[in-house]
């Protein structure tokens, strides 16, 4: 317990951590202030006009769906402006995931229900970057500066030291992430209340936002563990940064290009970024060029889906493998 306290204090006292927290606070303050400055509470006239525009749009969609059905049934001849999907259900407003609402037609009005999701994605992206950098520098600087040697002279149990450091990092990061997201979303909800609209926040909205939040927190913890593991293996913070840069350049850019030249089927399924997006968004729909090649007549759907489950398996598997390798290296390595 003392070791955890000491490590937590060391983590919190690190300049880099403090700098990143200040940056988070600054980004938070700037976003809140600009949002606050650019939003106003809509007048009844603005609201009525927006509601009318939303109703018109829904009506237009219903007409388009009805027209599609009639064309498919042969009771109507299509003209050049008609959009005809394979199934008319694709443009059925009743089956649409989201119908236009008044908030879509309000200019200069912050609507929390509409903006919460992108705001949360921004926060998750920042926290994931924060987690990776702090995770890497926390152990990297310690290994490089002799801090680990000093600690091992006091606590010559390497597995305990490794596990405590990683546990402290993840625990501290989780605490900070929860606090930051509550403060962040809470502040924007207040802006919606005071100087905009909160929008429709039904159970579905909260369930969807909650799922993104939980997946985001898991991603933040995974990136922190990844940074920690790679820096442990490379004995330096820069090892983690270099590995990420090398991966992006060599694999995400270089290998993607090679796959395209060789016309490899579904190259995106070999890219970590696809699984990351799938995990964060719930699922990601990707396009496979090799399916719909010239010569294929008629409708061709070359799309395929990666689900959050596949994303979790890949991200968790990679992180677990690297953490296990780092643990083994830390346990056996000569500290010279």
């Amino acid at each position: 317990m003392n070791l955890v306290r000491a490590e937590l204090e060391r983590l919190a006292a690190r300049r880099f951590v403090q700098l990143m927290v200040v940056l988070l606070a600054v980004a938070f303050a700037v976003t809140v202030l600009t949002t606050l400055g650019g939003s106003h509470r809509p007048t009844p006239v603005e609201l009525s006009r927006a509601q009318s525009q939303a109703a018109d749009e829904v009506r237009r969609m219903e007409l388009a769906h009805d027209r599609c059905l009639r064309i498919k049934a042969g009771s109507l001849t299509p003209d050049e402006n008609d959009y005809l999907p394979r199934e008319c259900s694709q443009i059925d407003p009743a089956q649409s995931e989201r119908l236009p609402t008044a908030s879509d037609y309000l200019s200069g009005v912050f609507v929390f229900a509409k903006e919460a999701e992108p705001l949360l994605y921004f926060l998750i992206a920042f926290l994931a970057l924060f987690g990776f950098l702090v995770g890497a520098s926390y152990i990297g600087a310690d290994l490089n500066s002799g801090g680990v040697v000093n600690l091992l002279l006091w606590r010559p149990r390497r597995p305990t030291v490794f596990a405590t450091k990683l546990g402290t990092l993840l625990g501290g990061l989780l605490g900070l992430s929860v606090l930051a997201s509550v403060a962040y979303l809470g502040a924007f909800w207040l802006i919606g209340q005071a100087s905009g609209l909160t929008g429709r926040m039904d159970g579905e909205f909260w369930a969807s936002l909650g799922a993104i939040w939980v997946r985001g927190l898991v991603l933040v913890l995974l990136t922190a563990a990844l940074g920690f593991a790679v820096a442990t293996l490379g004995r330096h913070t820069s090892a983690a940064l270099g590995t990420v840069a090398a991966y992006l350049v060599v694999w995400e850019l270089g290998a993607r290009l090679v796959f395209q030249i060789l016309e490899v089927a579904r190259p995106d399924r070999y890219m970590l970024s696809s699984y990351l997006a799938a995990w964060l968004a719930g699922e990601v729909r990707l396009w496979d060029d090799s399916v719909c090649r010239p010569g294929i007549s008629g409708f061709c759907d070359g799309s395929y889906t990666l689900t959050w489950g596949a994303g979790l398996v890949v991200l968790l598997g990679l992180t677990a493998a690297l953490v296990a390798a780092a643990f083994t290296a830390f346990r056996r390595r000569d500290l010279v």
């Binding site: 003392n2 091992l152 002279l153 606590r155 010559p156 000569d334």
Partner: protein
Amino acid sequence: MSAVIEIAGLRKTFHTLRQGRRVAVDDFDMLVEAGQVHGFLGPNGSGKTTTLRALLGLVRPDAGRMSVLGASSPDRLPEVAGRVGAIVESPQFFGNFTAHRTLRLLALAGGAPTARVDEVLEQVGLRDRGGERVKGYSLGMKQRLAVASALLKRPELLILDEPANGLDPAGIREMRDLTRSLAAAGVTVLLSSHILAEIQLICDHVTIVSRGRRVAYGPVDEVLAGFDQHQWQVRVAELEQAAQVLGRAGLSVTGHPDRLVVTGVVDPEVISRTLGEQGLWVRELLPLRPDLESVFLELTGGHDHVAVPRQVDGAPPQDGVIDLDVRENREVDA
């Protein structure tokens, strides 16, 4: 006396892609008993730090047995870690932390009372600078901080690797006094240093290592006595005549422009009587005792090659350059 540190047959080889295989320590033995202030001497790269790191569980030995305070190392080292204070080679600390915070965190992590922090800062002379960031410290101050960290636990065994690094003469003296006071309080001290005069002043026992092997060990006086050639420096007015007289008496004499050196004489009375009987009066008669430096240089191959740069780490000697190979293992019973 009980053994505080026991090392038998320690071997450690490092493998690197660039340099290949390098034997750092080979079949090394060491014994430090309770209450000793034990000097650990050896040239750069001779394996001192590797030995200490292996003893403290920081590097994995290839072979050999080690124990600290009766617990085998590294397996049972955690059981006695709270009784061992150690600094290994230039210790480094986070520059942005103050000395006080650095020690407090170490004490917290190691379960030592944090109230000790102020005491040890005072003990090493950093009481008034403990609130400053370590990055502003000189090398000597960092060294003092390292010693303070080793003292936090009130250790029974103190392992200090080059504690005088970066210290000014006053600091070296303070470190010497501190070591003596700790030894007087019953702390066993293992001290690795290049400052041979310091070792001779502080230590009662010594182990000398060269190219990863122990080449001499035992009480300092006995190690030195093992190299005593019973030499005497003689000054008289008539040097040439005196040399002839002593030579005729069967003594081994080496002439110098201003003095004679007589070797192999246990009782100096023989010299003064021999010369006096011939009317030659001795102005000065001094024993030439070996010091640790001369013994160290002889054992580690540093003698008589003043003009030739000695190569670190016992690299194979080139023809006609220098021979660092020490084939003699002088053992002096403790």
